[in-house]
């Protein structure tokens, strides 16, 4: 158990820089999820923490010790790979005990720890099997077991659930979370799946093009996304973005789609007429007629049973997605209102969040 500190990590492969200075401090026992689209550098960051890649610049510290120059073997970490990376020529017990054997533990102790971990994961019956005789879920458990028996300072997970089918993924997700809490091992978990990220992490790192776009708790990220990329990435269906301009001395936004809406939480700093991007989550759009209502022309309705996702266009041509309780209308038009308290305000250029002045 330990802390992990990544400071100003840069990484280039040849002329291409994939990480442009990432900072991250993971507290003891914390589970951090690194989430982002493919190619954002999240796996590279994890591999740098593991020692499988050497950063071009920056430092890695585990439990306060600078390990930047150390081999993976000297870092006292364990990693679960996307394809599990089990040793195909060893039995499950040998797979799990390999790291302990290398550390020169007595056979009885290895045996005891392997059995303990196997009991924890419910794979005692599989100890004599070979990896190829196991199902995907079982392999996943063995890979977990191999990480647990080592009792490492740090767990690293590289998209370990992405090769499982949907049902098993949900089950293993909960299991990993429970296990991590119980063992209290500091963990870094990489995924491209936002649901996995939201449910697993104490805090999330949303990666975008080699930067950490935002580091915060899942609810904070959902409620106050730092920029339009994070806002669009977290939440399903994705947040709607509408164009507008700052008006009334920063107290309101004039939407291109028509209405001017006063901010509920105070005026924004910035010149009159500053181009803004206004975000609103589909579940926050209300279907009601009234003073500020817009007419949404529906072009697709996805009924999900208890709720419906409606895709449509506003009169000025901007797309809007609405999530409503109940089956919803089949087609036609729908009056919708955008509640002021649900708006996210971003500067159009760069997409940075614009919070009320002084607030």
């Amino acid at each position: 158990m330990a802390t992990l500190e990544l400071s100003a990590i840069r990484k280039s492969f040849g002329p291409v820089e994939v990480l442009h200075g990432v900072d991250l401090a993971v507290a003891d026992g914390e589970m951090i999820v690194i989430v982002g689209a493919s190619g954002c550098g999240k796996s590279t960051l994890l591999r740098i923490a593991a020692g499988l890649e050497i950063p071009s610049q920056g430092r890695v510290r585990i439990a306060g010790r600078d390990v930047t120059a150390l081999e993976p073997a000297d870092r006292d970490i364990a990693m679960v790979f996307q394809n599990y990376a089990l040793y195909p020529h060893m039995s499950v017990a040998q797979n799990m005990g390999y790291g302990l054997k290398i550390r020169g533990l007595p056979r009885a102790e290895i045996d005891r720890r392997v059995r303990e971990a196997a009991a924890l994961l419910g794979i005692e019956a599989l100890l004599d099997r070979r990896p190829r005789q196991l199902s995907g879920g079982q392999r996943q458990r063995v890979a977990m077991g191999r990480a647990i028996v080592r009792e490492p300072k740090l767990f690293l997970f590289d998209e370990p659930l992405s090769n499982l089918d949907a049902k098993l993924r949900v089950q293993m997700r909960a299991e990993i979370r429970r296990l991590q809490r119980r063992l209290g091992v500091t963990s870094l978990f990489v995924t491209h799946d936002q649901v996995e990220a939201m449910t697993l992490g104490d805090r999330l790192v949303v990666m975008h093009q080699g930067h950490a776009a935002q580091v915060a708790t899942p609810m904070e990220i959902w409620a106050k996304p730092a920029d339009t990329y994070v806002a669009g990435f977290i939440g399903s269906p994705a947040m709607n973005f509408l164009k507008g301009r700052l008006t009334e001395g920063g107290r309101a936004v004039a939407l291109e789609a028509g209405p001017t809406i006063r901010f509920a939480d105070g005026p924004r700093p910035g010149p009159e007429g500053l181009p803004l991007t206004i975000g609103i989550r589909p579940e926050h759009v209300r279907a009601e007629a009234g003073g500020l209502a817009l007419t949404l022309t529906l072009d697709l309705v996805e009924p999900l049973g208890s709720e419906a996702v409606l895709h449509g266009r506003l009169p000025n041509g901007e797309a809007l997605v609405v999530k409503l309780a109940g089956p919803g209308p089949r087609d036609g038009t729908l009056p919708v209102a955008l509640p002021a308290e649900a708006l996210h305000v971003f500067v159009a250029e760069g997409g940075r969040r614009l919070d009320p002045a002084g607030g």
């Binding site: 195909p88 020529h89 790291g99």
Partner: protein, 293 residues
């Protein structure tokens, strides 16, 4: 995957098989059958009379102390060639597998010796090791080591082993390299994280996972050492000095082609065939069990 193809005409499948069967029959079964038949015959010196002598050829052969010496030579030669060719190729493949600059060129250079004819290879080795005109041979003698493979049987054996192994290294190298590259990188990374350093990783992960390749090459190399090294031996030492480098295949040639004792030579061929069949069977039976596919 294994879909069965059903032919409408009954003749077509046989026609498609015919060329291969024909070649196998003409160039393998026929001569092999003749060898077996000749092994039971004896001709007089002028080839006029041929008598059926049963197992007499074999009895005489196994009673010949020189033949037993040849068996010993062959064992030393085969083990030497196989061990050197496999270990050197594995070492080179491991080095080439590391991501280094110019790896492609390095690989091509290593593959070249395979494309060289045995006689040419032998000439190259003569230029290196000839006691008077060879580069290394002269250096050895200059350093006070009495090097002359034409007089010293052990040195001659060493030289034919080296030359034969050298020719086979390229072939082994290609297979080892392919085998190494088919080992998933993440498995090695997992081992690194589990605390294994490179040497340990090699012996506990890479080498066991390479065992199908190693096993295949072991069989191929032994067969190569038994049969395909005739050219190198003939060009380098002609089995000498004093039959020190005469292997089973070379002796079969000498008795058959040079001494024109067809019966004896055929008997030796049959013995050779049996030895190789036995070796291969033993390998598949016992070693394959330890192979992880």
């Amino acid at each position: 995957m294994d879909r069965k193809v059903v032919f409408k005409q009954r003749l077509l499948p046989y026609l498609l098989l015919a060329p291969q069967l024909l070649i196998t029959i003409v160039f393998f079964f026929w001569p092999a059958g003749q060898a077996v038949w000749f092994a039971f015959l004896r001709q007089d010196a002028f080839g006029i009379r041929t008598t059926f002598v049963g197992f007499e050829n074999f009895a005489e052969l196994l009673a010949d102390p020189l033949y037993l010496e040849t068996i010993r030579n062959t064992a030393v030669f085969c083990i030497g060639v196989t061990a050197i060719a496999l270990s050197v190729a594995l070492l080179l493949a491991v080095l080439a597998d590391r991501q280094i600059r110019g790896a492609g060129g390095y690989r091509i250079l290593l593959i070249w010796p395979y494309a060289i004819a045995p006689a040419v290879a032998a000439v190259l080795w003569i230029f290196l090791f000839h006691p008077q005109i060879g580069l290394i041979g002269r250096a050895l003698n200059g350093a006070g080591i009495a090097w002359d493979y034409k007089l010293n049987g052990d040195q001659a054996m060493l030289m034919v082993i080296l030359a034969s192994a050298w020719k086979q290294v390229s072939y082994n190298f290609i297979f080892f390299l392919a085998g190494l590259q088919s080992i998933p990188k993440s498995v090695l990374e997992a081992a690194a994280i589990d605390g294994a350093r490179s040497v340990r990783r090699f012996w506990t992960i890479t080498f066991p996972l390479l065992s199908p390749t190693t096993f295949f090459l072991l069989v191929v190399n032994l067969v190569y050492a038994f049969f395909d090294t005739f050219g190198v031996i003939d060009a380098l030492t002609k089995g000498g000095p004093a039959k020190a480098t005469e292997t089973l295949i070379y002796r079969a040639y000498v008795d058959g082609r040079v001494n024109l004792d067809l019966g004896m030579s055929s008997a030796q061929s049959v013995v050779l065939m049996l030895v190789v069949i036995l070796l291969t069977a033993i390998q598949f039976r016992f070693i394959e069990r330890r192979v992880h596919y």
